[in-house]
């Protein structure tokens, strides 16, 4: 009998971002359960729950580290973003913004991963969640996104563009999702070997330096 294949994206997500302590056991359990006749929808639901539960547990177990990671991430988002934006001066504007978002997202994810390995997934996921919540979800309540307010109606009638409508909200959200995806992508890359060798090289250099003195 042909073995039923697991949903690839969901399995990849679970392997990359699942709870580190019992990831392999969980992947095996879900595979066994799925092959005994469960639906794809069930598998996806289980993976999403596993990711949420894993992130919350790792946050709770390493709360001070996660708080520090969040603080570093938000400091970068608030202070470095305008500086990075100045580095890119080409046109058109949309391409410039998208490239800047990818570079900046990658930088934030890389720094968080470097500082917090091997428990870097929780701060990165929380930063991603809090960023989307405080920008795009908050922006949903801006006048004119879904419910047209009086000012919006008057501006539209007068022929000028409203400050925020569904399309501008979708564009901003798309750009922010690119930033978040780049950040998570950087967090999944295996930098730890390079980091170890860099740290080891620095320590060796310091020891050699102190010996020669």
């Amino acid at each position: 009998m042909k073995e039923r294949k697991l949903p690839r994206i969901a399995t990849w997500l679970l392997r990359r971002f699942g709870p580190s302590e019992q990831n392999q056991v969980l992947v095996g359990d879900l595979a066994e359960h799925y092959r005994s006749g469960r639906s794809r929808w069930w598998y996806w639901r289980e993976v999403m729950i596993a990711l949420s539960v894993g992130t919350l547990r790792e946050t709770w177990q390493n709360r001070m580290m996660v708080l520090m990671g969040l603080a570093v991430g938000w400091l970068m988002v608030r202070n470095l973003d305008p500086l990075i934006m100045r580095l890119f001066v080409f046109r058109p504007m949309v391409a410039r913004v998208i490239v800047e978002r990818i570079v900046f997202g990658f930088l934030v994810g890389f720094v968080l991963a470097l500082l917090h390995r091997p428990r870097h997934i929780a701060p990165i996921m929380l930063l991603a969640g809090s960023y989307i919540a405080t920008t795009d979800i908050y922006r949903l309540y801006s006048p004119g996104v879904f419910i047209p307010d009086a000012a919006n109606v008057i501006m539209t009638a007068a022929g000028s563009r409203p400050p925020m409508n569904v399309y501008t909200w979708l564009l901003f959200t798309f750009v922010d999702l690119i930033f978040v995806a780049a950040m998570i992508w950087a967090g999944t890359l295996q930098f730890h070997r390079a980091r170890t060798s860099l740290v080891a090289a620095a320590v060796r250099l310091l020891i050699d330096d102190s010996r020669t003195r």
Binding site: V25, L26, G28, H33, A50, V53, G54, R57, M64
Partner: protein
């Protein structure tokens, strides 16, 4: 010396040193399955008795139970139907069984002689 917020978290953890309802159900399922208690049968056992739980939620409860010393775990052999991944088996400890019995006594005494609950049908 207590200092906020670190000790706040410690106090919350200390308060959680008893069995929650979800943990009690998982512990009883482990007791029922005896030698074959790992993720998939535990979830099925709970489902058969009317409680649907996600596999990750069951593992979270099992980890809490293990941290409290109510269950022990060990790894089994990897099998092909699990994609070569090992099973993690669980067994209730004496402390776990005593805690489950104590909880049963409390719950039974609370339920005994309880008149009809108001708002049951709403």
């Amino acid at each position: 010396m207590l200092c906020f917020p670190l000790d706040y978290f410690r106090i919350v953890e200390l308060m959680r040193d008893s069995l929650g309802s979800c943990e009690l159900m998982v512990l009883l399922a482990v007791c029922r399955l005896d030698q074959n208690a790992y993720g998939v049968p535990i979830v099925r056992e709970l489902e058969q008795r009317g409680r649907r739980m996600a596999v990750a939620t069951v593992y979270a409860a099992l980890d809490r139970l293990e941290a409290k010393g109510f269950v022990t775990s060990w790894f089994g052999e990897p099998t092909p139907e699990r994609g070569g991944k090992a099973k993690r088996y669980f067994r209730a400890t004496g402390k776990g069984v005593r805690e489950a019995r104590a909880t049963q006594r409390v719950l039974t005494s609370l339920w005994t002689g309880l008149p009809n609950l108001k708002g049951e049908t709403t």
